[in-house]
C-alpha cells in the first residue's frame, strides 16, 4: 500500500512539483505555509485533481500518468477527511458514514451496520441519529474520520483535520487521532500548518514551500536541523547561513561564530536556540567562545519566558525569565551583550545551496 508521487500540477503561475514515496504503516505530515500546495498534493493522490506531468501510483498501480491514464477517485481506495469535514448536511451522522459502503454496493442494513461499527470505534455511536449541524467540531471531526474509514481505504488523506477546532478540543482530538492513525494499516498523509500536529502525529514530515519539497525527514530532524526560515520559525529557533572552516563560521549577514565542529567546511546552516543564548548588560567574561553586542528590538512573552529579539551580528532571539528582564532592565533599545557556547551551536552542511 505504497503511494508513489512523481508529479507536477500547474495552476496558472503556480506549480507543485513533488517526488516522494509514502510507505504503508507510516503517517506523513505535509507541512507548509498557506498556498504552498499541500492540499493540491493530496487532491492529486485522491484523484480530485489531475496532474500535468509525471505519475501517481497507489499499491504499485499507476492511477494517473498525466497523459493517457486517469483512474477516477472512486476506484482509488483513498479515504479523505476534508478541511471543515464536508459532512453531508442533509443526512444524519449514520447515513453520512453509511454513504461510502452503500456507494460501494453494500445493502442498506449492511452499510448501516458498518457505519455503527465505525462510529462505535470512535466512541460516537450515540450521535448516529444527529444531523451534522448539531454536533460539536470535535465530534464532526470524528464523524468525518469514521466516514473516511468506513470504506476501508488503503490510503488515508487528512486535509487540515484540526484547523476548525479550538485550542482545547485540539489537544483531545489530537490524542484521539494519534490512536486512530496508529491503528490504521495503510498509508496516511496529514496536511497541516501546525508544527505540533506534525511532531506528535507523524513519523515523517514533508515540508512544502512554494510548490517545492524543501525538507523531508523525521520530526526530530526537522526540529534539530531546519533548512528554511519557515521551518526554523515554526521550531522557534534562529537559523543562520554561512561558510565554515576550521571551527569558525563566517555568517552571510555579517558576524562570526565559533563552533565546536572543526571538521565542518563549506556552506553550512547553524541553529541557535533561544534558551542557549545568554543576555548581559556588560561584555561577558567566561568560557563562552562567542560574545557580541546588540540592541533589543522587541520583547515578547511566551509561556513562562520572554523572547528577546536582539539586532546585532548576528541578530538572534534569546529566551530569558521575566525576572531577568527586570534585573537586567531590558526594554526596546537597550544595548546588550550576547553570549553562546560553541558547543550549543548546531551547525550542519547546507543541503540547499
Amino acid at each position: 500500500m505504497t503511494v508513489r508521487v512523481d508529479a507536477e500540477v500547474s495552476r496558472g503561475t503556480f506549480t507543485l512539483a513533488v517526488d516522494a514515496t509514502f510507505e504503508s504503516g507510516t503517517v506523513t505530515a505535509i507541512l507548509g505555509p498557506n498556498g504552498a500546495g499541500k492540499s493540491t498534493l493530496i487532491r492529486a493522490i485522491a484523484g480530485l485533481q489531475a496532474i500535468d506531468r509525471g505519475t501517481v501510483s497507489i499499491d504499485g498501480q499507476v492511477v494517473d500518468d498525466s497523459a493517457s491514464l486517469f483512474i477516477p477517485p472512486r476506484e482509488r481506495r483513498c479515504g479523505v477527511v476534508f478541511q471543515d469535514y464536508a459532512l453531508f448536511p442533509h443526512l444524519n451522522v449514520l447515513d453520512n458514514v453509511a454513504f461510502g459502503p452503500r456507494s460501494r454496493g453494500a445493502a442498506n442494513t449492511e452499510a448501516k451496520a458498518v457505519a455503527h461499527l465505525n462510529l462505535a470505534r470512535l466512541g460516537i455511536d450515540h450521535l448516529a441519529e444527529r444531523r451534522p449541524s448539531t454536533v460539536s467540531g470535535g465530534q464532526a471531526q470524528r464523524v468525518a474520520l469514521a466516514r473516511a474509514l468506513a470504506t476501508q481505504p488503503h490510503v488515508l488523506l487528512l486535509d487540515e483535520p484540526m484547523a476548525a477546532l479550538d485550542a482545547e478540543t485540539r489537544i483531545e482530538i489530537r490524542i484521539e487521532l494519534e490512536r486512530q492513525l496508529a491503528d490504521f494499516a495503510g498509508c496516511a498523509l496529514l496536511v497541516t500548518h501546525d508544527p505540533l500536529d506534525a511532531m506528535l502525529l507523524a513519523d515523517r514530515v514533508l515540508v512544502i514551500e512554494d510548490g517545492r519539497v524543501v525538507q523531508d525527514g523525521s520530526p526530530a530532524e526537522l526540529a534539530n536541523r531546519p533548512v528554511t526560515d519557515y521551518v526554523a520559525a515554526l521550531m522557534g529557533v534562529t537559523l543562520l547561513r554561512g561558510t565554515a572552516s576550521d571551527g569558525v563560521l563566517n555568517l552571510d549577514n555579517g558576524g562570526l561564530l565559533h563552533i565546536a565542529d572543526r571538521q565542518l567546511a563549506g556552506r553550512v546552516l547553524a541553529v541557535l536556540r533561544p534558551s542557549s543564548i545568554t543576555v548581559h548588560r556588560q561584555p561577558p567574561e567566561g568560557s563562552a567562545r562567542n560574545a557580541w553586542p546588540g540592541t533589543v528590538a522587541s520583547l515578547q512573552p511566551s509561556h513562562d519566558r520572554v523572547l528577546v529579539m536582539v539586532n546585532g551580528s548576528p541578530s538572534v532571539t534569546a529566551a530569558v525569565t521575566s525576572g531577568a528582564i527586570a534585573e537586567l532592565g531590558l526594554s526596546v533599545g537597550t544595548d546588550v551583550w550576547l553570549s553562546v557556547k560553541a558547543v550549543e551551536i548546531d551547525a550542519y552542511p547546507n543541503p540547499t545551496r
Binding site: 477517485p73 482509488r76 471543515d84 464536508a86 453531508f88 470504506t151
Partner: protein, 268 residues
C-alpha cells in the same frame, strides 16, 4: 436568519418611495376585492366556464412545470458547471424567453412547431402530431415562457453549492448518478422548489404565447387568464370573480410553502 436590531430610524428618502411602491402593489388587490360581486360569486366561480378553465390551467401549468424541471434542471447543471462550449451564449439564449413579449414567443412557437413550422411540418407529416391549438400546445407555450425562471434559479444554486460535498461523495465511491441524486439534488432542494414555484406561477399566468400559439377554445386551450380576458368583454363580474379565484390559488400556494422553501423565508 440573523435579525439585526435597527439602531436608527429608516431614512425618509427610502421610506417614502418604499411606501409608494407598497401601495402601488396592494391597492389593485384591494380594488379587486372591493369590486367583487360577492352575491353571485359562488355561482360565477362554479360555472362550467370557470371550473373548466381552472382545471385546464392547473393541469397544463403543472405538466409544464414538470417538463421544465425534468429538462431544465440538467440544463441548469450544465450551465453552472460550464460543461458546454459557449456557456455565456447559452445562458443568454435561455434568458431570451424571459425578455421576449409573450405574443412574440407565441409567434416563434408557431414558426417552429406550427403545421408548416421548422419542426412542426415533420411532426405533422410523418407522425400526424399537431401542437398548435391543442392542450399540448398550451403546455408547450407555458413551458417555453416559464422554464427560464427554473433554469436561472437552479443554475445559481448549483453554482454556489460547495463542491467538496460532491468530492467527498466521489472519494467514498459514489457513481456520478448517485452523487447527483443523493447529494447534489437534495442540497439544491430548496432552490428547486423555489424555481419550480416561480416557473409554475409564470405558467399559470401565461396569456400571450398561449392565445397566439394555442388559441382560445373553451375546454381545450382556454386557461384561466384567457377566460378572464374573454369574460371581461361580456361579463365584468365574472371576470372579477375568476381573477379572485386565481388570486386565491396563488396565495394558497404561497402560504403552503411559506417557511419551508421560498427564498427569503426562515430556513433552519
Amino acid at each position: 436568519m440573523v435579525r439585526q436590531r435597527s439602531t436608527a430610524p429608516a431614512p425618509w428618502f427610502l421610506v417614502v418611495p418604499g411606501l409608494v411602491a407598497l401601495a402601488f402593489l396592494v391597492v389593485p388587490l384591494i380594488g379587486l376585492l372591493a369590486q367583487a360581486p360577492w352575491g353571485s360569486f359562488g355561482s360565477l366561480v362554479t360555472s362550467p366556464l370557470a371550473t373548466e378553465a381552472l382545471r385546464l390551467s392547473l393541469i397544463t401549468s403543472l405538466v409544464a412545470t414538470a417538463f421544465a424541471a425534468i429538462v431544465g434542471v440538467p440544463l441548469a447543471w450544465l450551465l453552472a458547471r460550464e460543461a458546454l462550449p459557449g456557456t455565456r451564449v447559452i445562458r443568454a439564449l435561455v434568458i431570451v424567453p424571459l425578455l421576449l413579449p409573450p405574443v412574440v414567443s407565441g409567434v416563434t412557437l408557431l414558426a417552429a412547431f406550427g403545421r408548416r413550422g421548422l419542426v412542426g411540418q415533420y411532426l405533422y407529416e410523418s407522425l400526424g402530431i399537431q401542437l398548435p391549438f391543442t392542450t399540448a400546445g398550451v403546455v408547450l407555450a407555458e413551458a417555453f415562457v416559464a422554464m427560464p425562471f427554473l433554469v436561472i434559479t437552479l443554475e445559481g444554486a448549483f453554482r454556489s453549492l460547495d463542491r467538496r460535498y460532491e468530492e467527498a461523495a466521489i472519494t467514498l465511491g459514489a457513481s456520478s448518478w448517485r452523487v447527483f441524486h443523493r447529494i447534489t439534488l437534495p442540497l439544491v432542494g430548496p432552490s428547486l422548489v423555489a424555481g419550480a414555484v416561480l416557473c409554475w406561477a409564470r405558467a399559470l399566468g401565461e396569456f400571450g404565447a398561449t392565445i397566439t400559439f394555442a388559441g382560445n377554445f373553451p375546454g381545450v386551450t382556454q386557461t384561466m387568464p384567457l377566460a378572464v380576458y374573454q369574460a371581461l368583454e361580456s361579463d365584468r363580474d365574472a371576470a372579477i370573480a375568476l381573477s379572485i379565484l386565481l388570486l386565491a390559488v396563488c396565495i394558497g400556494v404561497l402560504i403552503g410553502l411559506r417557511g419551508h422553501y421560498l427564498p427569503g423565508s426562515a430556513r433552519s
